[in-house]
Symmetry: C2
């Protein structure tokens, strides 16, 4: 992992309270669903599933949970039957002699069975171990209803009794998971495509999105729960095709609009708890996507107030982006303002970044037209310069591919983003995609559904629909085959156990940016 935490403690922030007030005014209601575990399960070896493990129903039955009592070293694993986000509570009592010692429990929440096989004490990833969904609880007096105050993302809940005393045992009844979201599955009717696998993928994609739609579009409900711009763009697109909660998109736009750097940069993410706070991380592509999200939102809603409130934020960011464009139209990003593109840093991202800027600039120009911005021509000129550089310098017509970086590397991301930027004619786009398929498929070294989304979308844009559908089925379908209830943050089909964090126990198995099949299907099939 070449990931580097950004620490920018010298940012001058512009906090616009008027814009933030509008974000607060659009706070969604949170719906609650009482989820009762469907069954008690045990972990079993299963080489077909993620991490080589799966679950099977235990001989202990959920309907006779109170018949079993637990002492030191015993445990019960509840299966909610699906992935949920929320809070856990359970009745606990003691059975036997009087309770002559506290009860010590370790309660572990897992999105996938393989998390239950990891030993948190041996965690050696680079991301904070604080993310491991595991609580140590001492209970001095029984009976109680244990209400854990924190929120978890989980399908499985393991309650391990670390100790009682030899004189009594613990008894558990009424486990309940109180699930939370700002949308409801019942509000969606998914279109049937006639392809059962695609239909199934879409159900899971929609559930993934639902679990991430809380008071904001969280990028993932298990860990940081922040509003990330790159994730937001894709969540908003999938949301329009499903829950169509445009208020939450509006709120998200105001949150970013209200918390920018004075120099115009929009942060990669913002915190909303305990207070509104911009993160000091900046990712170039995420920043310029602000205008894209605004444009997509306006296309759907014709909400003039939001557009006029936030246009200047998008414009200032676009102007800031141009600082890194030379007189030839070549984008060169400094180390402290990288483009994300994908978790992998094993390929050159220069050309892909140029593609994201062209794509975003086009969307921005649409807004400038709507608003009759007198600077309109300037942006058109910049677009031409950036596009020309891409067409005449970055595109290698002999290799039918865009090259990237000083060594002229040809990689998938460059082709994909230049297709999405739509700078070539459709015939050339098709040739580029075909060449990409011929020379670089099967895809390897790409670790995120986020980047796979863009590959599939580029293929659809270029009209290579059959191959696009095939790739979507292979990629998201393989997650389903491996046991996914919701789609994951990271997945390399050739290396299913890959985690960007060095240890899958902190990986996110319900991640907003992987919810896009439902958008792709709706738009292109």
């Amino acid at each position: 992992m070449a990931f580097k935490f950004q620490i920018n403690d010298d940012v001058d922030w512009k906090i616009d309270e008027n814009l933030l007030q509008k974000a607060k005014d659009n706070m969604p209601e949170i719906y609650h669903e009482t989820v009762i575990p469907e069954r008690i399960v045990e972990i079993v070896e299963d080489t077909d599933k993620l991490g080589g493990v799966s679950v099977k129903e235990s001989s202990s039955k959920i309907y006779s949970l109170s018949d079993t009592t637990y002492n030191r070293g015993t445990e019960v694993i509840f299966d909610l039957g699906d992935h949920y986000v929320g809070r856990f509570s359970i009745d606990i009592d003691s059975v036997g002699s009087p309770m002559d010692a506290p009860l010590t429990l370790k309660i572990t929440f897992a999105e996938v069975p393989s998390e239950l096989t990891s030993d948190s004490a041996k965690y050696d990833g680079w991301l904070s171990s604080s993310w491991i969904q595991e609580e140590l609880v001492h209970i001095d007096e029984l009976p109680i209803r244990l209400n854990l105050p924190r929120r978890y993302a989980a399908r499985f809940i393991r309650v391990s009794v670390l100790d009682t005393s030899p004189k009594w045992r613990a008894k558990f009844t009424n486990p309940v998971f109180n699930a939370e979201s700002s949308v409801k599955m019942n509000d969606v009717t998914l279109k049937e495509t006639g392809n059962v696998q695609i239909d199934n993928i879409n159900v899971i994609a929609t559930k993934t999105l639902l679990d991430c739609m809380q008071e904001i579009f969280e990028d993932e409900p298990k860990r940081d729960r922040r509003l990330w711009l790159g994730d937001l763009r894709l969540q908003a697109l999938a949301n329009y095709e499903t829950f169509n909660n445009t208020t939450l998109v509006k709120r998200s736009l105001y949150l970013f609009g209200g918390m920018t750097a004075k120099d115009g940069r929009i942060p990669a993410n913002v915190f909303t708890k305990p207070n509104l706070l911009p993160d000091d991380t900046f990712l170039f592509d995420y920043s310029v996507f602000f205008g894209v999200v605004l444009s997509d939102y306006f296309d759907r809603t014709s909400d003039w107030e939001t557009l006029t409130d936030l246009y200047d934020v998008a414009k200032k960011q676009m102007d800031y982006a141009f600082k890194f464009v030379d007189e030839n139209g070549c984008l060169s990003l400094p180390e402290e303002y990288p483009a994300f593109i994908d978790w992998s840093n094993d390929f050159d991202k220069t050309t892909a970044a140029q593609g994201t800027l062209i794509f975003s600039l086009k969307k921005f120009i649409q807004l400038s037209v709507v608003l009759h911005d007198q600077d309109y021509q300037y942006y058109e000129d910049m677009l031409k310069k950036l596009s020309d550089y891409a067409i005449y310098t970055l595109y290698d017509s002999e290799k039918v591919a865009f090259i990237s970086g000083e060594d002229g590397e040809i990689n998938i991301a460059s082709q994909v983003w230049m297709i999405i930027a739509e700078i070539m004619d459709q015939a050339t786009n098709q040739k580029i995609i075909q060449e990409m398929i011929d020379t670089q498929f099967p895809v390897s070294g790409i670790a995120t559904p986020y980047m796979y989304h863009h590959i599939v979308e580029a293929m659809f844009i270029a009209g290579i629909s059959e191959e696009a559908i095939k790739l979507m089925q292979e990629y998201w379908g393989k997650m389903v085959d491996l046991g996914a209830d919701t789609f994951w943050e990271a997945f390399e089909p050739e290396n299913p156990d890959y985690s960007p964090y060095g240890d899958p126990i902190v990986s996110s198995f319900c991640h907003a940016w992987s919810c896009t099949p439902v958008y792709l299907t709706s738009k292109y099939i």
Copy 2:
């Protein structure tokens, strides 16, 4: 350890709500004292102290606590300056970039420095590991004031940061320990004895008692916090010489009186939280001490109401005890109703148990005289039978010692309890004690201040006062030398790291039954 948990699930209980109501009516007020840590310390090797470790003041100063920030793998140890019982709270904030991961803390409470060197994960004792005073806390949002809800017994509080993230560090301010007791040190004026070491022991003994005096006389504030009859007897004696809170003794007597077995047995201890509940553990000597505590209480208070309410409880227990006395006056206890005497099970307890019964019966007979019980003569007859058996069968005049068990074992406990039972004339008592000193001192294989108390008291009763004072100074003084702020549950001078539980991390270092020097001093010096 030959300790065997008793599980008696077939006891028919007689719950007397009238008596229990009187226990509730005498609930004490709890006083609170705000304790600010005196300093930050580090653990250092120190072969002169318990467990081979001690503390020294850290270069980090408590007055500049906020100048230091903490990330993964760092810790701070607060020293309260003395042993207290209560609850901990602290302000926590993050310093640096926005808080992009939860804060995970391990917070350990220790009565003595050596507890901080134990690895709780490797605990291998037979007592529940749930007693280890260690919390794992995840905090999602900072700043907060962390108020840990549980009560701890501690002088040292270690806050270990298990993880933050690389982007920020934790900052701690305003650590406060809110100490609790039903009595106040200011209410006591300890007599000066002219012996500085004894005076110092008495201060520590009084603090030990204070920390155990909560809503009941707890046997120890770190662990089970129950009201044990054997501990109560000694606590009450020390209490009369110090805080003289006779209401708490009354409450304790009613608690036992209200929860007895239908057959008359009084349990070794009762629970008071969350509800009043008798434990299913029965210890013969503890049971018969009920009448002793009542007698001692009546001597001090002349409280006729309590005496008349509870006399029958004492009587029924005494009658039950006689089931195990044969026609010769020999007490033989069944395995399920053992006498405790001491934690050690490496000596025969038969004769010592007979001593506890004679001692208790004498106290009971005093009450029967006061109340003009018409069965008085029966108890006198039983006393004579038990005493005669001890004098004519158990006492070996050639060896100048009481023998115990089938093999005629001579041990300290037998001599001590027969002296306390006062069945021989004073000249014989002195000879017995002198022989015991000559042949069995230095004491070995006795693990509790509880048994040492009885050795010292027996020596005082026999008039061997100089040697009694010397033993008290050697035993309690050695705990002081090893670093005691309060006196311990278990201490074998010849084996200072001995724990009755197989691991000192769950040992109790503030234990009611070790508070008696202040009583012994007051009564005998």
